[in-house]
Point group: C2
Amino acid sequence: MTKEKVNGATEEEQQAQSKKALKKQQKEAEKAAKKAEKQAKLAAEQQSADEDDFAKDRYGLSAMVQSQQKLDRALVRVQDLTAEKVDQLIWLRSRVHTSRAKGKQCFLVLRQQQFNVQALVAVGDRASKQMVKFAANITKESIVDVEAMVRKVEQKIESCSQQDVELHIERIFVISQAEPRLPLQLEDAVRPDGEGEEEGRATVNQDTRLDNRVIDLRTTTSQAIFRLQSGVCQLFRDTLTKKGFVEIQTPKIISAASEGGANVFTVSYFKSSAYLAQSPQLYKQMCICADFDKVFCVGPVFRAEDSNTHRHLTEFVGLDIEMAFNYHYHEVIDSITDTMVQIFKGLRDNFQTEIQTVNKQFPSEPFKFLEPTLRLEYTEAVAMLHEAGVEMGDEDDLSTPNEKLLGRLVKEKYDTDFYVLDKYPLAVRPFYTMPDPNNPKYSNSYDMFMRGEEILSGAQRVHDAQLLSERAHHHQIDLEKIKSYIDSFRFGAPPHGGGGIGLERVCMLYLGLHNVRQTSMFPRDPKRLTP
Amino acid sequence: MTKEKVNGATEEEQQAQSKKALKKQQKEAEKAAKKAEKQAKLAAEQQSADEDDFAKDRYGLSAMVQSQQKLDRALVRVQDLTAEKVDQLIWLRSRVHTSRAKGKQCFLVLRQQQFNVQALVAVGDRASKQMVKFAANITKESIVDVEAMVRKVEQKIESCSQQDVELHIERIFVISQAEPRLPLQLEDAVRPDGEGEEEGRATVNQDTRLDNRVIDLRTTTSQAIFRLQSGVCQLFRDTLTKKGFVEIQTPKIISAASEGGANVFTVSYFKSSAYLAQSPQLYKQMCICADFDKVFCVGPVFRAEDSNTHRHLTEFVGLDIEMAFNYHYHEVIDSITDTMVQIFKGLRDNFQTEIQTVNKQFPSEPFKFLEPTLRLEYTEAVAMLHEAGVEMGDEDDLSTPNEKLLGRLVKEKYDTDFYVLDKYPLAVRPFYTMPDPNNPKYSNSYDMFMRGEEILSGAQRVHDAQLLSERAHHHQIDLEKIKSYIDSFRFGAPPHGGGGIGLERVCMLYLGLHNVRQTSMFPRDPKRLTP
């Protein structure tokens, strides 16, 4: 049915669509014509200048790199342009970050990721008047190859990452030309929120950023965020691999809604329907029943929640852990908290540049954590909230504002941004949560918090098929639909527990950011599916 | 619409369903009753025996581990039960792999993953007649805690991984009881195909295995396959991280079919529709345009192909690479082939036990590769096939049988199981493939093969928005639907290329297996969505 809906537009709709397409095509053609015109103009200018230009072979638009030849030319990286390279003639490929013509000179800032260097084309032995003009006309964000002499500077260049040298350009060729009107300016996109307003300068709103994500991701802030995110994944996996965990790959298309049926996306699967996994929960548990002992996985999870908040996405990356334990699920908590602590330490020790880069635009306090990690019981937390004037029942779930308040109270009392809240009321947890043996109203389950927001939810799971059936029945879940899951526990299952961590939330909260879209490269929410 | 279809069953259907549900519930209840009866019987037996049983506290069914207490008890691992532990009293948790009563003794084989050890309960000082009987009655695959003395054996125990010692059990408690009828026997599941037939013993067919995957994954073969798979992912990432690549996370729910529209799964997305990404292709390219320079990602990709072959899955794990290059896309080929070679070496050097374990059940020749990797051009391959009597046009795509034949010819001539086929005809490649600058009928694209089957497809991509629009138009792709993709190239884009590797295929072909379902934990194909 869904397929029909997609392809089976009415005739009217089709006409409207083809009109629209036609219009777009015309627009495209106009654009292309304009571009061609501009290029022709540049070429013509160059040609007319060529005759009396001694430097005419030293600059220009390169043919599109189509792998015509294997050039034996070493390119240096901007970050390697230090005092050691002084008086060397080098080749470099980089973006034109800014350019400024000034008399017979043109100053450029050349950029590679988070690094940049000052460069200069000046009329003289190696550059003609026409060459300086050509350089001055190169659009921002274009990619150029330059041959240049590295020169020491008298005074440090404060505005560039490479402060001790500048480049004296002897050849410059455009490898890929950027269109002249950028949808957003990189310098606006890294300006701290307050600063823009005070000085009457622009900042860039989030939708503009996300609509033009390819440009937004080029900023020093974005480069730092996603390099740090790559680090979180690596630290997560390396720590667990050292602890003897095995990485698993779990299916995302599933035949039954894993966690009850609400908030699940439906997929048309050939002549039938299927769902997108809301977590790898059931599969990682099956791996425990299949003797993998300790497993982790990193992958997308899908939630069809119509929530437009700062911390909800419809698709995010789950860092999932599951492990058999011997006698007490606190063995699991200890493994997870130690993993988090290793991540925090790894970020602190190896990603200081990235942290400080993000802090320049989004200032925040350094992230604090304790060793061993603080563990509070739910009842203690409720008592702290009561004491702070909050009215709530002992077995009520925590509201988002109360979670945040609790985070502040914990920070005041214990000076930590990371803690575990243990022994949640049974009623607010999923059916597969192990009840507390000492108090049937509570459960062997826990959440973990960073800066007062939940980043992990976990528990000891029920590993007995009979108790699991009872609990599912109690939650009014159709046992037939989760048969293969329940059957997994019929042939000997070790006691086990685990949890799922939201990658984007960990990055957001570690860096003290305020919107999870900042730490998702191409975020998905009920209103955003592009780019 | 899809939602309605799922929930909107007719009244008749609902009645049929609730009858079915009722029947199932009755069946469940009967099962539970039987189990309770059996447990009561065991308990009763134990109780009646208790009065005159001096060992009555030394065995029994443990209460379900519900984290009642933190036991200060160290458990040893089976693989650590070596001669060094002789004459030590140890605690161990493991599965009962087999048990055999013999007079006043009961022999057990206790198993942990791929390791096992012989154990013995014998009537004497520490064990009563009743205790031996209890041990003999423990169902296969149950999980037990045993306290035992480690004893040296006179003769090596050939049938166990731990050959120098056996365990003399002094206490034994059942932690989790397996149902008595296993859906498949582990020893049948690891029997080589031929052997079963010859000796009139059972082997297990693939559907039975997959229907009962939790049991099938416990075999030494499965444990080895998926530990090796975990290794492939780790080697892939570690190699690329060392080369300066950044890990990215790309969305799986997308607004437009990325590769043309065929074979794509549709998702209902709130009040609209979306698709499941057939590859991270467009997103990893956007990351290159966003200055990440070299990126990789590991994640699910989805193909709605109705192919029921040995090598197609509807969901598999893609190991994806994309990188900017300087002047020639062979820089990309070199990076990818070196990564593959590092994976092959890492497997050969660190996963020899796993390789040999799989070989016991599925014998195959060791995987051969050359350094540097062999690279053939498409025209050379066609010539080799022509010479071998195959009739095909110069610009025809390779059929699967011809791919396999080519693999054999290459193996004969060059003695390698891994090679690159370069310069495919332009017509058989996706619209974003860069045409060959020297011959418009060919392209800067390549496939990589292991044992004659394709594991990677890749190319230099078109990085110029205008040429990309032309190519998309030529392929009759609606430009409007891929607007944000094409726009990514308007603001300066470096020349770049990459490729996507199928994880399950790499594991299958490296190990010389013959069905990709063997290397997918929970495979998905047009006919299988469970477990």
